[in-house]
């Protein structure tokens, strides 16, 4: 099964990226109608994944992959079970509709091609994320979704607010991504596996590992930021700066659910522990309440939906962490229902905005007559969101109450939380899906009329699917809900709930919820006003906290830079050389590795002569009255050393040393004349003494180190190898050069690249306008003079 379609699945994983590359060209040729062509790609992917539905429903899993980095044992692999398949179907299915919708929504926009490109790129990333098997594949796609969403949120980059929202989303989810990476590494360390399928097969191992808690916190850091859990929820409403198709796709059905996906995926191996069942419901429940209350405050249709999305994500996290099979089943049903109705409602909000010119709830009314199709879709979606029969949302809500109302204290508390949250969401759902369409006709910026097919097709299909999935619940359970719930629980479970109401506690709680919802809907204005007062009284929120955090980081880095990079060359050099001296002496003395006193070999006359010349050069450097003399005298010492190299048979080295010394003198002299320094040395005596001692200590340290190194028995393996093979393998008798250009050619390639880059940098420094010839010019040149 897996083998014959392996290459096809591989292709399908990359198809969105190909489509993304083709999108700008297609849009240039066909304008907004390119949407019809581009929608073929996700539709094809959807059909491909549909083909897996039957085997997965029978409990099979589809996996495949290719070796990616063999030496690190990293594969590019995928793994499809009920959970990933449902996500993949949602992503490609809703993705198809979103592409069509973007065609209508951004019709005539100058950058529509770019938009298509970004959204398809995102689709590819998200799809890769949910089917990824190896940890690395998962992480790469996880980060890709963050990057793609950054591009999409900041699509309208000429606006400050959009740029800020994009950056904020990137920082929050990017930080979460790093946390996830650390978490995955810890898991790999604790269990020794590096793929999800192997981890799932492992079973108990991870829960009992001592690193479990660390891994849990890190993974939750990734999941909570991505899924906008309180207190990281603030980026999601801000992300509404993006065009509506983005909100409908990323911030309802897909990206923000990535965190929930991760939690569901890891539930079989990390769940059912005390930490899991405490942290998840706690954060999820808080997010649910906070999200709905903040949503109540808003008048912008998109922002209302955004906050209910935050709330829904909280509900999903809460259910996933509750720890019973029923709760997981509820989470699964609610996730599917939410993707359908929230996607539809976002698109409806976009239609309203597009056709009336506003999405401010207080300015909208009575547009249902002008936009009947949109109204119908909105109403269907709102019914599902409110959890009314016979919609899929109703099934989800029944299951939520059946799962939570277990009688324990925790269960009662969370049931209450769920009732309040659902009631408020009911109200907001109808405020978006019903309120703008009824009542007295209002005065909108544009005269309202029905949008083109591209705009209403998506919401209609999604809203209808929400109805059909509930009507034919046995079918949708068999192919979607049950396999997905089985994957999340870790053992086969069967979901059987249908639209026929069962008299019992869940139904009663549903009625309470609906009553609460209707009450809040009718008193929406008053509720909003009181929330506004409360929020104004609090005054501070994580969103403002984010700004304070960013400002704080910038301020701290400014302080640190001021201390570390104070711009005084003498301090830099003093610090560098003190550290060098410490690095030389501390280990040598600490480990008792000081060299023993070497026997002084008898030196011949000419060797003495060269030594004397070297010392004369050094003496001249110290006593020289002006800098130019000092530089030239330093050259004398260098030449003497080169002669020594020559005497001991290192011809190449000596040759190079001569040239380097010559060039250093020339370049240093040029630099000195350029810098217009005072010719003589005006340091105070104390400074001179300090510099002298640091220099002496460094020199002594290097000398001792060299002596110690020479005392160690020489390991001739390498030199023997080079001596034996230089002629045979590399056809050269000059071993030094053969090493440079052949045996260690890659090193040399890197080195010459460094030489060139250093040259470019120095050239840039030299070209800096005369008038402020900074100290930097001098140091840079000195370094390269020595290096070359």
């Amino acid at each position: 099964m897996a083998a014959d379609s392996q290459w096809l699945t591989f292709l399908v994983l990359f198809l969105p990226f190909f489509a993304a590359a083709a999108a700008p060209l297609l849009t240039r040729s066909f304008g907004h109608k390119a949407a019809w062509i581009l929608a073929v790609f996700p539709a094809f992917i959807f059909l491909h994944f549909i083909g897996f539905a039957a085997p997965v429903a029978n409990g099979e899993t589809i996996s495949g992959g290719y070796s990616w980095i063999e030496s690190l044992d990293v594969d590019f692999s995928w793994y499809l079970d009920g959970l990933s398949l449902t996500f993949a179907l949602l992503i490609s299915g809703i993705g198809t509709l979103i592409v069509l919708y973007s065609g209508g929504y951004l019709k005539g926009h100058a950058q529509q091609g770019r938009f298509f490109s970004f959204i398809l790129m995102f689709m590819g990333a998200m799809q890769g994320l949910v089917v990824a098997d190896s940890f690395l594949t998962l992480f790469v796609f996880w980060e890709l979704t963050s990057i793609a969403s950054f591009l999409l949120i900041g699509f309208d980059h000429s606006r400050e607010a959009a740029r800020r929202a994009a950056l904020q989303a990137l920082i929050v989810t990017g930080a979460g991504g790093l946390s996830l990476l650390a978490g995955l590494l810890v898991i790999a360390q604790a269990t020794g596996v590096n793929s999800l399928s192997a981890l799932l097969a492992e079973g108990e191992g991870l829960r009992e590992a001592p690193l479990y808690f660390a891994a849990l916190l890190l993974v939750l850091g990734g999941a909570f930021t991505k899924s906008a859990q309180f207190p990281f929820h603030f980026w999601l409403p801000n992300a509404m700066e993006a065009p509506t198709p983005v909100s409908a796709y990323l911030h309802s059905a897909t990206m923000v659910k990535a965190g929930v996906y991760l939690l569901m995926r890891l539930n079989p191996v990390m769940g059912e522990t005390f930490a899991w069942e405490t942290i998840l419901p706690l954060f999820g429940g808080t997010t649910l309440i906070v999200g709905t209350l903040l949503g109540l405050r808003q008048t912008d249709l998109k922002l209302m939906l955004a906050y209910t999305t935050v709330a829904s994500l909280g509900l999903l996290v809460m259910l996933t962490g509750f720890g019973s099979h029923l709760a997981v089943e509820a989470a699964v049903l609610y996730l599917v229902a939410h993707s359908l109705f929230k996607g539809a409602l976002f698109m409806v909000a976009g239609c309203i905005d597009h056709e009336t010119g506003t999405r401010d709830l207080t300015r909208l009314g009575g547009i249902g007559r002008a936009m009947p199709i949109t109204f119908a879709a909105a109403l269907l979606a709102a019914f599902s969101m409110g959890g009314l029969p016979p919609f899929f949302g109703f099934l989800a809500k029944e299951e939520i109450y059946a799962g939570l109302a277990t009688g324990s204290f925790w269960g009662v508390l969370l049931t209450l939380v769920a009732i309040i949250g659902n009631g408020l969401m009911f109200a907001i759902g109808f405020a978006v899906g019903l309120k703008p369409f009824i009542g007295a006709a209002s005065d909108t910026p544009k005269h309202p009329h029905e949008g083109p097919i591209l705009l209403w097709l998506g919401p209609v299909i999604l809203a209808t699917t929400g109805l059909l999935a509930a009507l034919f619940s046995s079918l949708s359970h068999h192919f979607v809900s049950s396999p997905m719930a089985s994957a999340v629980v870790g053992e086969p479970v069967e979901i059987s709930i249908s639209i026929v109401p069962h008299v019992g506690l869940p139904l009663l709680l549903s009625l309470v919820t609906i009553a609460l919802g209707i009450f809040v809907y009718l008193t929406l204005e008053r509720g909003r006003a009181s929330m506004a007062t409360v929020l104004a009284a609090i005054g501070w929120g994580p969103d403002r906290g984010f700004d304070q955090f960013v400002r704080g980081v910038i301020r701290i880095s400014a302080v640190v830079t001021g201390i570390v990079q104070n711009g005084r060359l003498d301090i830099y050099m003093t610090v560098t050389f003190i550290i060098l001296a410490a690095a030389l002496f501390v280990p040598m003395i600490g480990f008792g590795e000081l060299p023993s006193v070497p026997a002084i070999a008898a030196l011949s006359f000419h060797e003495w002569a060269i030594l004397v010349i070297a010392f004369i050069g050094l003496g001249a450097v110290v006593y020289a009255r002006d800098r130019l003399t000092a530089i030239v005298s330093l050259g004398i010492q260098g030449f003497a050393v080169a002669l020594l190299f020559m005497l001991f048979g290192a011809a190449d080295l000596s040759f190079t040393q001569f040239m380097v010394e010559t060039l250093s003198v020339v370049i240093l002299a040029l630099v000195m004349t350029r810098l217009r320094l005072s010719p003589a040395d005006h340091r105070p005596t104390g400074q001179k003494l300090l510099d002298f001692s640091i220099a002496s200590v460094c020199g002594a340290g290097l000398g001792l180190l060299l002596m110690r190194v020479v005392e160690v028995p020489f390991d001739p393996t390498l030199s023997t190898f080079f001596a034996e093979n230089s002629r045979v393998i590399a056809h050269g008798r000059n071993i030094v050069n053969v090493i440079i250009v052949d045996f260690r050619g890659l090193d040399t390639l890197g080195e010459i690249a460094v030489v060139m880059i250093a040259g470019l940098a120095i050239l840039a420094l030299v070209r800096v306008r005369a008038g402020k010839p900074g100290n930097a010019t001098k140091t840079k040149t000195v370094e390269t003079g020595g290096e070359a």
């Binding site: 190449d652 060039l663 020339v666 050269g732 000059n734 052949d742 030489v755 060139m756 040259g759």
Partner: protein, 139 residues
């Protein structure tokens, strides 16, 4: 610096040094020498020429911008490493052929071109720095 003697001899000295640097470069595989040292010699030659006769005449003489020479050297070195990929050997594996030029066997290798690349990088970078500094001196 621009004494008459120096100015008169510098062009001859510089051209001899460049010639010598090529000799050092080419013999590097079997005798002391090679691209690095050859490049340094050539760079000193150009630096001397610049001190004696002025930067504009050096720039005219070498025709290309020194950084372009450096860049082409890096490019050449990387390119010479790619050849081995065509015979399915790792990057930078030396490839040798023996040509028969007028009856004299001549060993050619990708390693030689790599070494020439090193030479060009060193000449270009150092000359570029030296000329930059000299130019400002006369500015």
């Amino acid at each position: 610096m621009s004494t008459l003697i120096f100015r008169t001899t510098a062009p001859y000295l510089a051209s001899l040094m460049v010639l010598f640097s090529l000799f050092v470069l080419l013999r590097g595989h079997n005798e002391p020498g090679g691209g690095f040292i050859g490049g340094l010699i050539a760079a000193s030659a150009l630096a001397i020429y610049g001190i004696a006769c002025g930067v504009p005449s050096v720039r005219r003489a070498i025709y290309f911008h020194p950084m372009a020479i450096s860049g082409s050297g890096l490019f050449l070195a990387a390119l010479s490493g790619l050849v081995s990929l065509f015979v399915e050997q790792p990057f930078l594996t030396g490839q040798w052929i023996t040509l028969n030029v007028l009856g004299v066997p001549l060993d050619l290798s990708t390693v030689l071109f790599f070494d020439i690349g090193v030479y060009l990088v060193v000449v270009g970078s150092i000359t570029s720095i030296a000329l930059g500094l000299e130019e400002r001196e006369h500015a």
